[in-house]
Every structure is written in C-alpha cells, then in structure tokens.
C-alpha cells in the first residue's frame, strides 16, 4: 500500500505525468511487484517498489520504516534526457504527503536520483525514498 500511495502522489502531479509515456492512455507509472513495466508501455515510465526497511513503532501501534525504490526509465535515443523527470520525481516525493491504506505516514523523504542504466543501454535513474508509518 506504500507503493500505491507513492503512485497516487506522482500521478496527481502534472509536472511529472506530462513528462511520461502512456500505457492504456494513462501516465506510465507502475507498481508491479516485479518492478517492470508492460512491454507495450511507452517511455519514459516509472516503476515503484517497496524494497525493505526496518522496525518503527510505538508501545501502542505497530509500524514500519519502508524503503521505496522508484525507477525512472527513458528512451535510448540521443538527445532525450530523463534527468529533469528524475529530479522532478525526487522533488515531488521528498517531504511529500501520502495516505497509505491502513496506515498513517509520519515522514516521507527522498534521495537525489542515482544513475541506473539497464544492460541494453536504456537510461535509467533511481530515486530511493523512505517513509515511517504507523498502523491505524
């Protein structure tokens, strides 16, 4: 539900969705567990995955610190850069507000984009975000 909440945050931000490709006429943002996009999605696209974290809770509530991996993939055509998109993702997520189902998020921060090209030469950036949540 954290990945879905990050999806909602990014999908509501036109400065992100205007820079994305499409999938079934929607901005290409995906939350599949496999961390991949459908083969017919156009680039640029974003994949969001919960990748781990740690303990966080109180005497009264279970909780978690969750690490979220946001991968931004672009075209391998020269001259097309996804760096502005990657930075925009970072700016939207960092200090953003999310409402995961069943939880209250107390904190959401994001690191700067890291270069993460795939083996076939498609440029990629990775933004690692971190949230602390308490169960409602």
């Amino acid at each position: 539900m954290i990945a879905e909440a990050i999806y909602n945050l990014l999908n509501a931000e036109s400065t992100v969705t205007d820079l994305l490709g499409k999938y079934e006429n929607e901005p290409a943002i995906f939350t599949f567990d496999q961390g991949v996009a459908p083969s017919d999605a156009t680039v640029p696209h974003i994949s969001i995955m919960e990748v781990g974290g740690g303990e966080f809770g109180t005497r009264g509530s279970q909780g978690a610190e969750v690490l979220i991996q946001i991968d931004i993939w672009g075209s391998n055509k020269l001259g097309e850069s996804i760096r502005p998109l990657a930075w925009r993702v970072k700016e939207v997520v960092d200090r953003g507000r999310i409402t995961p189902v069943g939880y209250t998020s107390l904190l959401l921060v994001a690191d700067p984009p890291q270069r993460n090209d795939d083996r076939e030469g498609f440029p990629g950036y990775r933004v690692i975000a971190r949230t602390k949540v308490l169960k409602n």
């Binding site: 109180t58 005497r59 509530s61 602390k132």
Partner: protein, 134 residues
C-alpha cells in the same frame, strides 16, 4: 510462561488509567546510594550499606499534536506539578507504580526524521510493587 523472553512492545506505561501509546523506548533506572562502612575487619575489601534509593522513568515519546498524554506531561513540566499513579507494567500487569515529577521534556526535531520528546520522570518516594491481584 517461566523462562520466556519478553519484548518491550508487550510492556505498558500508564499515567493513571491512560496508556502512553506514543512511547517508544522506555528505561526504568532504579538505584541506591552506596554508603561505605569499611573498617579493619573487612580484610582488605570495601564494605557498603544501602543508602537512599531513587528511581525514574526515561522515555522517548513520538510527537503528536493535540495528544492528551503528551499535553499532560508538558503541563506538569511547565507548571512544576506532579504526575500521579504512573505505572510501568509487564504483559501480565506486574510492575511498579508511583508518583513522579517531570524533570526533562526535550523536543527533538531532526531535519529528516520524526519529531520526538525525550522525557524523564523522577520518582517521588518508594515505588509500589504491583501485581494483577493488587
């Protein structure tokens, strides 16, 4: 069950009948002064008797605007008033209860992390042992 370990999240901190749900780590130091009464009969080793005892409750409190427990601790600190019937209990209701004053109410505001209070409650008088039957 005897011999079973216990986690901190199973323990309960209460002020009166209200559980301090936003507490994270809690420490309950109980110490006594050491009064040396060594004499020549102690065969080269120091000897002591127990002096005055003291106890306190140290806790990290996750900040929440409008939280009534947080507000009551803050009020006790600001006004120099006491907190009555503060209990530290295990999952079976066994522990200690007593009256306290608030001697530390520090708010921690890290830039990229959650806001917490570091709280120290100083016990006033001897802790009373609590069991479920008491």
């Amino acid at each position: 069950m005897a011999g079973e370990g216990t986690a901190g999240f199973d323990f309960v901190l209460k002020i009166g009948s209200d559980e301090v749900g936003r507490a994270r780590d809690v420490t309950v130091p109980m110490t006594r002064d050491e009064l040396e009464d060594t004499d020549r009969s102690n065969d080269g080793f120091k000897s002591f008797i127990a002096g005055l005892g003291e106890w306190q409750v140290d806790l990290e409190l996750l900040y929440e605007s409008g939280n009534t427990i947080q507000d009551s601790i803050e009020s006790a600190f600001l006004n120099g008033t006491g907190l009555s019937d503060v209990s530290v209990l295990d999952q079976n209701g066994v522990g200690f209860i007593g009256d306290f004053i608030v001697i530390n109410f520090t708010r921690n505001e890290p830039l990229n992390d959650v806001v917490t209070h570091t709280v120290t409650l100083k016990g006033c008088g001897k802790p009373t042992k609590v069991t479920p039957a008491s």
